[in-house]
Amino acid sequence: MILNFLAFCTLVATLAALPRLILGPTAADRIIAAQLAGTGTVATLIVLGTADNAPALFDAALVFATLAAVSGLAFVALQRTRL
């Protein structure tokens, strides 16, 4: 029950990055928001995996973490090629 509530809180934290993504005056702000949302989904998966006692979700979290790293890098690198 507590873990379900914690999973809910992590999702809230993930979605709380969105205002910055929409408002954020510079591109850097938006990349920061996307990065935080990526971390938030990884955390949500870990907490969900603990709550449902499904360690298979930890593997999914690992995939999400890898892809968050790759897409974050893509954001920064492809941003710089234009400059």
Binding site: M1, N4, F5, A7, F8, L11, V12, T14, L15, A17, L18, L21, I22, G24, A27, R30, I31, A33, A34, A37, G38, T41, T44, L45, L48, A56, L57, D59, A60, L62, V63, F64, T66, L67, A68, A69, V70, S71, L73, A74, F75, V76, A77, L78, Q79, R80, T81, R82
Partner: protein, 299 residues
Amino acid sequence: MSLAFDVLLAFGVVFTAAAALGTHDRVASIAGFVVTGLLVALSLVRLGAPDVALAEAAIGAGLTGALLLRSAWRLKPAESRVSPPIDRIIVALIAVCLSGALAWAVYTAPGAALYPALVSERLAESGVTNPVTAVLLNFRAWDTLLEIAVLFVALILVRIVAPAHPQPVVLGELMLPFARIVVPMCAFLAGHLLWQGASVPGGAFQAGAILAGGSLVLMLGGFAVPTPRLLSWGMMVALLGLAVFAVAALSTEALTGTLLLYPDGAAKIWILMIEALLTLSIAAMLCLLFCGMPRRPLK
């Protein structure tokens, strides 16, 4: 509590997609799209489809995001001719009706669950214990073969239309340790996903996408410059998977008399061999789709 989680997640998915599609800032739309992909993957996990969730996170969010970013600066924004408000109101009304009708139709559709019984009945002889892998590479392997062919056709289209843009980027000193950890991790994770795909969520597509992500890190970090030579090697690898799959289909036809019906008891070996080569081939194709192909100079 779990219901509140679902409601918040569904709301987040729609809201993020609206934010991504509603803005004219390129970075905001693409970042919004990537976050939408992640949230959709999360809701697919909630819907009990972790295989699809892995593929959506890896391909739908990660690689599509990178592709869109690559094109974002090459495509000029269209001249901002806004459609008249009356048109937009009509379109919005049609869209709302479409959504409502779709939701109502899907919700009230008579659920005739025909496949689960069939799949679980034959799962023991498929050679794997993950039903999704069994469907993809045994029961309906023909579809998967054609899907790889579709990927290859897209690759040929990209080759004809878009020349490669090798752009070395200098990103600073921290890139080297980052690539040194992340790229081996990607290779390791791809192998892990490939191997465990037989019994738990994972498989060739997810593994291929992760591998492509690793090589994207190499290219974006400037460690592997996509020279024409490297790209033609990539093309060879991309072809190899398709060729091996086609040869496997023909040899099963010769061995058992049916296309892609594996010989008794050897299904696991066949599936694993095909999947391993498919992983390499899918990774090569996704990479080539990202960086484009060199165009031969006209003589």
